[in-house]
Symmetry: C2
Subunit: 210 residues, 2 copies
């Protein structure tokens, strides 16, 4: 029934609402197109999630938009915004570098909100994702080595292409990691007098949930 909400969807909603208040319809469009969501997010999934989050006090209806036309009878058209608690939760979830952040469905959402977290946390997530993929690579390579000659050409080609795709993502991650490191380096060299940027939103040693 109302028992929805996987972490990924909650983070997505929190993150999008942290950028601007909006209603469910718009949220759906953005989750579907902007994050690495892959499939279309359905209302049957989104609305129950919004309700739950509202009950938990993470979001509220935003009554500041469109205040003059106070027509109480109008159905729907609810604009949601984050509460203080919701903002806190977003900071926590987005920065969480635990294993759940490195898998396929979650990583994209985390990445899309990298602008809201510290370089340290970005690095943690990026590196975690990369080593996750490297494990996968290792697994595929070893099964391939063990059974290459027994596989027909199409199965082999499928494996080859899969390997190639993952390798491509690993290279991408490596570039991103290098950039973040340069960034960190630059900030460190900049000297300790700059307080603002270093750990901005969340203390460097963020929690591991789960």
């Amino acid at each position: 029934m109302a028992r929805s909400r996987g972490d990924a969807l909650e983070l997505a909603v929190l993150g999008l609402l942290s950028q601007a208040p909006m209603h469910g319809y718009e949220l759906r469009k953005r989750v579907t197109s902007l994050l690495g969501w892959g499939r279309v997010l359905s209302y049957g999934s989104l609305y129950p999630c919004l309700r739950t989050m509202q009950q938990e006090g993470l979001i509220t209806e935003d009554t500041t938009t469109e205040p003059p036309t106070a027509r109480p009878s109008r159905r729907g058209k609810v604009v949601y915004k984050l509460t203080a608690e919701g903002k806190e939760r977003f900071a926590t979830l987005a920065s969480a570098g635990g294993p759940s952040a490195w898998d396929d469905e979650n990583f994209g959402v985390h990445f899309a909100f990298f602008g809201s977290i510290s370089t340290e946390n970005r690095l943690r997530i990026l590196e975690g994702r990369r080593s996750r993929l490297e494990e996968r690579l290792e697994g595929v390579r070893s099964t391939l080595a063990r059974s290459r000659e027994r596989l027909d050409s199409y199965t082999l080609e499928l494996q080859r292409h899969g390997l190639e795709s993952v390798e491509h993502e690993v290279r991408w991650l490596t570039e991103l990691i290098d950039n973040e490191r340069v960034d960190r380096q630059a900030r460190a060299a900049d000297g300790p007098q700059t307080i603002t940027s270093s750990a901005g939103t969340v203390p460097p040693a963020a929690e591991n949930r789960e």
Copy 2:
């Protein structure tokens, strides 16, 4: 309860059993590693599916393996094989070029069994998959064009990488399609009298299973 079995899993089981009889445990390993399955297939998913398929008469227990040690009391260790009906079903499902074959979860499984279907059907599936991806590309490109300046750099980078990955797969598909076309051409030019050499002409796509 026993109401499992999406098309992908059924096709996977049928295809693997068409290569050799085996038991559930081995099936799970192969589905997980050989096809483009992505995640680990769970027993909670596989065994109910096998039962259903057995009830439908697509598979049976293979008693020919290990016949001397006729110990009827032994639990489990059931080797499954295809029935005639199962072989028929496999041929039908594997060749089916409908829209369901082009989406992410199904395409890999279909591709892995390309060795069992005709060049025509391979082309249908390959082309369907490609146009599916091209639609996706078009969608991403247009939303990107509409909102590029409003996106923060990480979201943008995510889109860019997503685009790149899909483009990569499209190029891969195009190569495969070209190979299949050359193959078909060669067979046509070869004339109706030579039946034997059908798939031998082009390196990448040779050899039917076993």
